[in-house]
């Protein structure tokens, strides 16, 4: 009988751990978001939704995601295609491309701060080239769109690597014969990419898009490093309510909003990019 119990014993620590530290806290968040001093209430949500910052916070986060993720997808596809074609120096290039994978979002924010701050490298270059006379204040509240651009650049710079790694491993699974067959039928490089690579990459694209979209909804440290509180995003407001305004219930309501849009986007990608039955490699 011990043979039969062994797999369950091995799974027990991980299952218990995930129940206590994953399932239970998320239930807690849901409870917190609907409770007040007198029990069940919708007050946290009302406080959140009627706060003057909420609309901008939500639209900033969604807009950032809607811009960042597609750029990353295109960039990662180009990087993965380059790596697939390389013969010499493949490993070096691949390592360089994956470097940002190991960096924290806070580090990425600080790195791009070095470029965008008033006495930073971008201003040095612009003045050096004679394009502007004096250094400009890029990251002030007068230039909200510039903070936006800086956050987009920093996020694209940092998190494209993970998409590329997933796509490179996905491309490695596509049988060479498919490309040879396409070539025999006269398909050029672009045709081969759109008719063989992209459809065969579906599962990898799905994983990459789910991971990245959720992470993009969680954008936090990059925004704080580059814009302070000038550009409010959902995760930043959650933090703000938890600490500066010390209202756990409203913070939980914000958390629930992030959770709901995350799950909605996951379901969306699971549905749109599902692999047709019997079409696996």
């Amino acid at each position: 009988m011990p043979q039969k119990a062994l797999p369950y014993l091995l799974l027990l620590p991980a299952t218990l751990f995930l129940l206590v530290f994953f399932v239970y806290p998320f239930l807690q968040i849901a409870i917190l978001a609907f409770s007040g001093p007198e029990g069940f209430t919708l007050k946290p949500f009302l406080t959140m939704a009627t706060h003057w910052k909420f609309q901008t916070t939500l639209s900033n986060t969604i807009l950032l995601t809607a811009i960042i993720v597609p750029i990353q997808l295109v960039l990662a596809l180009s990087m993965a295609s380059i790596v697939a074609k390389l013969k010499t120096g493949r490993n070096t290039i691949l390592y360089i491309f994956t470097i940002p994978l190991g960096l924290s979002d806070l580090a990425a924010g600080i790195i791009w701060l070095a470029i965008f701050e008033q006495s930073g490298f971008l201003n040095s270059m612009l003045v050096g080239l004679g394009l502007t006379e004096r250094p400009m204040l890029f990251l002030g509240y007068q230039n909200l769109w510039m903070i936006f651009v800086a956050v987009i650049l920093a996020e694209v710079w940092r998190a494209t690597a993970i998409v590329m790694v997933i796509l490179v491993s996905g491309m490695g699974l596509i049988p060479k014969e498919y490309y040879e067959a396409a070539e025999v039928f006269g398909a050029g490089p672009w045709k081969r990419f759109t008719k063989v690579t992209l459809p065969m990459l579906r599962p990898s694209l799905q994983t990459a898009l789910i991971l990245r979209t959720i992470a993009a909804f969680e954008v936090f440290a990059v925004v704080v490093a580059l814009g302070g509180t000038t550009l409010p995003v959902l995760m930043g407001e959650t933090f703000n309510w938890q600490f500066a305004l010390s209202d756990r219930n409203v913070a939980a309501a914000y958390a629930l909003v992030i959770l709901v849009i995350s799950i909605a986007s996951t379901l969306f990608f699971l549905r749109v990019l599902r692999t047709p039955k019997g079409a696996t490699i």
Binding site: F21, F26, I111, F243
Partner: protein, 282 residues
């Protein structure tokens, strides 16, 4: 052979090929620069004196002055934050492998009822913004006395790392043929001995790689660290909370301190990254 082929190709095609090759190489160089130049600029700022960091215009060449770094390392709270970061990351590493590896082994070796349910639970963690867990756990930790402790934060970071540990160790164990274990059993080993003597030496490098990955996840995490620590801040939490008040040179030196270990670790596990993500995307 190749020379003969080259002369056979009509000229226009050769020109198109040459142009295509140029675009390809230029694109590759450009993308490498896109990744490397920002890191270089951070290094320039880190290796300049505090005066040079706030000076304008910048030359883009480091003066190899260690003033900023010294200021950072002597700044009150930095040494402790560095130590806390290492401590939490090591605890995360040990916990996530200790919890994840047995599960990965079970998934790779046994067929049992509930296997699909367990896989579903692990995969589901991906659809959730995990750092948010810190909010309710902050309350729970105060109740059980784990608030503001390294182990408390490590438990949250383990939640982030465990799904990866399970999936990665699953793929590593699945790569070891079960016949090797069976051979050891017939030679008189019991299950545990066979695992120790045959499987463990083979999987050790892969397990190390996923442990390093868990370390990096914890080292880089900002949100949960900032929510759960007050006195015992990790480096990320310390930097985040002092962002609005600290001088520029402190930020850049701190950023460099965050980047350096991560660079080394990614280099150390580069061989395993693709195998890891290849299987993680199934």
């Amino acid at each position: 052979m190749s020379v003969a082929v080259a002369t056979d190709v009509p000229r226009p095609v050769a020109e198109i090929n040459a142009a295509g090759k140029f675009v390809f190489i230029a694109g590759t160089v450009l993308l490498c620069a896109w990744v490397l130049v920002p890191i270089y600029l951070l290094v320039v700022n880190t290796l300049s004196s505090p005066q040079e960091v706030s000076a304008f215009p910048k030359t883009g060449i480091p003066s190899f002055d260690f003033g900023s770094l010294q200021f950072f390392l002597n700044f009150s709270g930095v040494a402790r934050a560095l130590w806390n970061s290492v401590l939490v990351a090591v605890l995360t590493m040990v916990l996530s492998i200790g919890i994840g590896a047995p599960a990965g082994y079970a998934l790779s070796r046994f067929d049992f009822r509930g296997k699909a349910t367990f896989r579903m639970l692990v995969l589901m963690t991906r659809a959730f913004p995990l750092p948010l867990l810190a909010l309710p756990l902050a309350v729970m930790f105060i109740r059980v006395g784990l608030d503001d402790t390294a182990i408390g934060l490590a438990l949250v970071h383990t939640t982030l790392a465990v799904p990866f540990a399970v999936l990665i160790t699953f793929s590593i164990f699945a790569g070891i043929p079960i016949e090797l274990e069976e051979a050891a059993w017939t030679l008189g080993c019991n299950r545990l001995q066979a695992f120790q003597k045959v499987v463990l030496p083979l999987v050790l490098p892969g397990i190390t790689a996923s442990a390093v990955f868990a370390f990096t996840i914890s080292w880089n995490e900002v949100f949960a660290a900032s929510v759960l620590t007050v006195e015992n801040r990790t480096l990320t939490a310390f930097l985040l909370q002092s962002l609005s008040v600290s001088p520029m040179h402190l930020k850049f030196a701190g950023g460099a301190a965050l980047v350096l270990p991560a660079l080394i670790f990614i280099f150390a596990v580069r061989k395993y990254l693709f195998a890891m993500w290849g299987i993680a995307s199934r």
